[in-house]
Amino acid sequence: MDILDIRKQFPILHQEVNGHPLVYLDSAATSQKPIQVIEALEKYYREYNSNVHRGVHTLGTRATDGYEGAREKVRKFINAKSTEEIIFTRGTTTAINTVAASYGAANLKEGDEIVISHMEHHSNIIPWQQIAKKTGAQLKYLPLQEDGTISLEDVRATVNSNTKIVSIMQVSNVLGVINPIKEIAKIAHENGAIMVVDGAQSAPHMKIDVQDLDCDFFAFSGHKMCAPTGIGALYGKKSLLEKMEPIEYGGEMIDFVELYDSTWKELPWKFEGGTPIIAGAIGLGAAIDFLEQVGLEHIAEHEHKLAAYAMEKMSTIEGISIFGPQDPAKRAGLVTFNISDVHPHDVATVLDAEGIAVRAGHHCAQPLMRWLKQSATARASFYLYNTEEEIDKLVAGLIKTKEYFSDVF
């Protein structure tokens, strides 16, 4: 994997920010877009913008081919059995909300339990809180080990015959932990529950095989994996999706509309009411082509190396706390940290003055922040275009930050 060659394909990286070359370490929030994706969007809008699944005209056919072609790319990308199991959504949030509002509403009742974990992103907490309130089901949290990992003993102790849904993120956007989804799914199934996976932080970075994981639903966002914002996908097992009701009604998703009743299209379209996210899906298809050309296994390996390098260099900074497992082998490509006496916002502002973009805040994981006993943290996250040299710059920037704040005090 030639990083310099990869970097050439990301036009945005070649600029100065505040007088320094941009060091973009915020890909867990959103990734940058390669020229292939930007060009695919431009080509669509310049050459074949048209609505899908209706017009008999040539542009309509091209747009439909592009849109449905992207669905096949997504299917292959996560190894789903059929494109009927791939629903385009606005992103992970919409995907999980769809499962909660449709499957949850139909299958939960008082006495049932939903199991999530303390490390979840708000998008995998609030949809379950809401559906629990509506149905009378109970929301239960898996505890975390001291290093932020989930133990299978805890899963076995928490999941029982009352559990109907287990919903866990595959990779934590704060701790960097990679959760044992396949094993958790097995426990869920042994207890008669379904397994939902928040793949927002895993799909961009590692090979996903939904059949091997044996999950029932898998949600992810395009914008974290080189695709545009506003597109993502929900995978669901056909046997479950077939029985589920749509949650959005309108154009596109209908079969017959009578005056007082209607019937729905077959899968996956019954879940895609309204004009779909055509350009976004085509952009996602181009992003998948790009990532597969580089190779997900190479991307994962590169990020593991970067994370290990960052952990090693950053841990030498006096007064730094790094959250999550200290063993780089257990982590994905991000490092969440705090520097004593300097608030993460101040860290992010000083780094920005050096052209370095990191995230500061609660990372949409307020329950996890409380578990970590932090009001906020700073996070550097890596992707295929980042280099060790950039991590050196981060470390130098952090040392400067410390010096700067010890000077002003």
């Binding site: 505040n18 101040d346 502002t349 920005d352 609660h362 307020q366 009001s375 906020a376 700067y404 002003v408």
Partner: protein, 146 residues
């Protein structure tokens, strides 16, 4: 932007208020308590004020946040003590204009608050500076209406 520009944000007087916050704590006899947080970043403040006959006789704050939000809270509590509700709310709108880089009335003695002017050049940090002021404005407006 170099570290020299950072100095326009992190002025010494701001750092002094951050390290040695004035009016930190909870007013035992306060008749107004306002909790506010910045949901995008996790900063939070609890402001307690005592308002007697339309005058803010005392104010204290508790909370957690960055240097900008906490120093701004410290300065705000200092500035409103002894002011009547109208003047305190007016000061808040002057501060808001200052943060947005708009013209603001400079006949008011802003004291330490003027040091926060540099925040207007850091758009991502304006919400940090205005948190405590929004809490104050909310509390006093509710008091005014009651």
């Amino acid at each position: 932007m170099s570290f020299n520009n950072l100095d326009s944000l992190y002025r010494q007087v701001i750092m002094d208020h951050y390290k040695n916050p004035r009016n930190k704590g909870v007013l035992e006899d306060g008749n107004l308590t306002i909790n506010m947080n910045n949901p995008t970043c996790g900063d939070r403040i609890q402001l307690s004020m005592n308002v007697v006959d339309g005058i803010v006789t005392d104010a204290k704050f508790e909370g957690e946040g960055c240097s900008i939000s906490m120093s701004s809270a410290s300065m705000m509590t200092q500035a409103i003590k002894g002011k009547n509700i109208n003047d305190a709310i007016k000061l808040s709108s002057v501060f808001s204009n200052m943060m947005q880089g708009k013209e603001y009335e400079d006949d008011l003695d802003l004291g330490d608050i003027e040091a926060l002017q540099g925040v207007s050049k850091f758009p991502a940090r304006i919400k940090c500076a205005t948190l405590a002021w929004k809490a104050m404005e909310k509390g006093l407006k509710e008091e005014e209406q009651s």
